[in-house]
């Protein structure tokens, strides 16, 4: 049997069911590895002691019918966990211990999973490199001083470094798919309304979705099956029949029509990404898929639209952090001064920047010029996809315009940081499902991903296409464990 922590979720669940491994053995293996991996800074809060207790409890009376029987899982620190500190990567929530559980994490525990701890992320999920976190940046296990992507950077690093079998992240403009691409892992953003937003620290409510981050496509299908559910507590949760994603997973994609959008060939895109995309296209053909050239004419307007819509929603959502009922408080002579000082000291620079953008575009006299305009362009972007999906079953694009960059390289230029999400943001604006799978490496040996985009609620189809492509690509991450300490 291979080393416990390098096993996939599928292998671990099989080994538990066949009684080859106990939950305690698995949990301890991940805890031990985490103790030696502090240099990566993936954990904001660990739950190791409680996790080991829970694993013993599971082993004493194991329910092997669970979908995640006794499997320890660390999650992004944006999911509220009852009794376990939840910070959203922010000073303002540094001491916040929720008294309730998010629906998505509850779905994990209800299927037998055990909380390992809470993973680092960009502050309030605002960032593409995990550098905006109050708890410091995360190292990408792929190479020293490399960002793991963001905002789910602790999550992507933890999966790539074998510190959790799988994890869940959140994706508002690419926060699952971009870090997955940067670390050679798989990340899926479901259709808007598929996974409940209840108990997730809100960033931009019309864009946020939780989703699985895993080592491979099969694990991704297993985890999606657990976390996707209709929830009365989220008014935008959609009641539809969800597939048994792992059971229905199939490499047969013969006759599927896959669209290639010409607008995703951007200036200055490295040759390796162009090549990777071509390879993906020829693999899809080998699998019997039909390749069709398509156009998504408003692609270039997606990022500017996103940088109006997302900050506008964020400025409203983050109004709740005023130092009154929970979180950090900075004392003031009067109420207004207390608000202003609390928010000034409690939020980091990027979060303040986005609140300011959002406040400005919603302010009197500018609403029509910015916010209303953006909502109209969002309609055009959605229509692009509607038109494309009348001709094709799925769309294949690169996940990111570059591989992982160095820590500190883009922190002084917000706009160049925002450009990271050029291929992922349109999917959130249109509410579609998208998955990033590792597809190759660049000249520095850093991973690069391909993205498969699907019709609303068609997660099964993009999982199947990814499953077929994954088999052909046969990606190997070969991470050297350079960060391990004794």
């Amino acid at each position: 049997m291979s080393d416990i922590t390098s096993q996939s979720l599928f292998e671990l669940t099989s080994n538990i069911r066949e009684k080859k491994l106990s939950s305690e053995e698995i949990t301890k293996a991940f805890v031990n590895r985490a103790e030696k991996s502090k240099k990566l800074n993936v954990y904001v809060t660990d739950n190791f002691e409680r996790a080991i207790d829970q694993s013993k409890k599971f082993d004493s009376n194991p329910n092997l019918n669970f979908k995640l029987p006794g499997i320890p899982i660390a999650v992004k620190d944006l999911f509220c966990t009852n009794g376990v500190r939840t910070t959203a990567g922010s000073k303002i929530l540094n001491n916040f211990v929720p008294t309730y559980e998010s629906t998505v994490t509850q779905n994990l525990w209800s299927q037998g999973a055990i909380l390992l701890g809470k993973l680092n992320c960009d502050e309030f999920a605002m960032g593409s490199s995990n550098e905006t976190s109050f708890f410091g940046n995360v190292q990408n296990p792929v190479g020293e001083n490399l960002v793991p992507g963001g905002s789910s950077g602790g999550s992507s690093a933890a999966v790539a470094a074998n510190l959790t079998p799988v994890t869940i992240g959140t994706d508002t403009g690419g926060s699952i798919r971009q870090p997955a691409s940067f670390t050679g892992t798989v990340g899926l953003k479901p259709t808007y309304g598929s996974c409940s937003r209840y108990g997730i620290v809100a960033f931009a409510s019309s864009l946020d979705q939780a989703g699985p981050m895993t080592k491979n496509v099969r694990d991704c299908s297993m985890l999606l099956e657990v976390i996707s559910s209709f929830d009365q507590k989220d008014s935008t949760s959609i009641d539809y029949k969800r597939n048994n994603y792992s059971k229905e997973l199939s490499k047969d994609i013969k006759g599927k029509k896959i669209g290639i959008p010409k607008e995703y060939r951007v200036d200055n895109m490295p040759d390796e990404i162009e090549q990777l995309w071509k390879n993906g296209i020829s693999y899809a053909k080998d699998c019997g898929a039909e390749i069709i050239d398509i156009s998504l004419p408003h692609t270039n307007y997606a990022l500017p639209t996103y940088y109006i819509v997302a900050p506008a929603e964020a400025s409203s959502n983050l109004a709740r952090y005023d130092g009154v009922k929970y979180g950090f408080r900075s004392p003031g002579q009067n109420l207004i001064e207390m608000y202003e000082k609390t928010r000034s000291e409690g939020f980091g620079d990027e979060v303040k920047r986005r609140i300011m953008i959002g406040t400005y575009v919603l302010s009197s006299g500018y609403y029509d010029a910015y916010y209303l305009k953006a909502q109209k362009v969002r309609q055009l972007i959605k229509k692009d996809f509607d038109d494309a999906f009348s001709k094709v079953d799925a769309i294949l694009t690169p996940s990111t315009p570059s591989s992982a960059f160095k820590i500190g390289e883009k922190t002084n230029d917000p706009v160049s940081m925002y450009l990271n999400d050029i291929f992922t943001v349109p999917i959130n604006l249109a509410g579609l499902p998208g998955i990033s799978i590792p597809a190759g490496k660049d000249k520095n040996n850093y991973p690069l991903g391909l993205q498969v985009i699907g019709k609303p609620f068609d997660e099964q189809n993009i999982l199947n296409i990814s499953y077929a492509l994954e088999d052909k690509i046969n990606f190997k991450n070969d991470i050297s464990d350079w960060w391990l300490s004794e």
Binding site: I238, I308, S315, V324, R353, I355, M356, K376, V377, L380
Partner: protein
């Protein structure tokens, strides 16, 4: 269009975030760069386009208005920065 220092200070007031002059100047530069990037949307004529207000094409559900959790006062107050028995404490508002 460019955002001047006075506007930056006005927005920070609206957003209830106090900023000093140095920060305000830095923010002015950042915001102008970002808005220059956002202005690209003006290339598009959207006169006859309906604004997208909800991505999920469903109407919001109604539910019964009923009490589902009781005796949660302690839970609600648990994370308050400063409390006094059953209340949240803030600086004096009424003189």
């Amino acid at each position: 269009m460019s955002i001047d220092l006075k506007t930056v200070k006005h927005i920070s007031k609206l957003a209830r975030i106090s900023i000093d002059d140095e920060k305000a100047n830095k923010l002015k530069g950042d915001l102008n760069n970002i808005f220059e990037f956002i202005e690209k949307l003006n290339e598009l004529n959207t006169d006859n386009v309906q604004a997208l207000t909800s991505i999920a094409e469903t109407t919001l559900r109604f539910r019964k208005d009923e009490i589902k959790s009781e005796n949660i006062r302690e839970k609600i107050l648990k994370n308050s920065p400063e409390e006094n028995k059953d209340f949240f404490v803030v600086p004096k508002v009424v003189e």
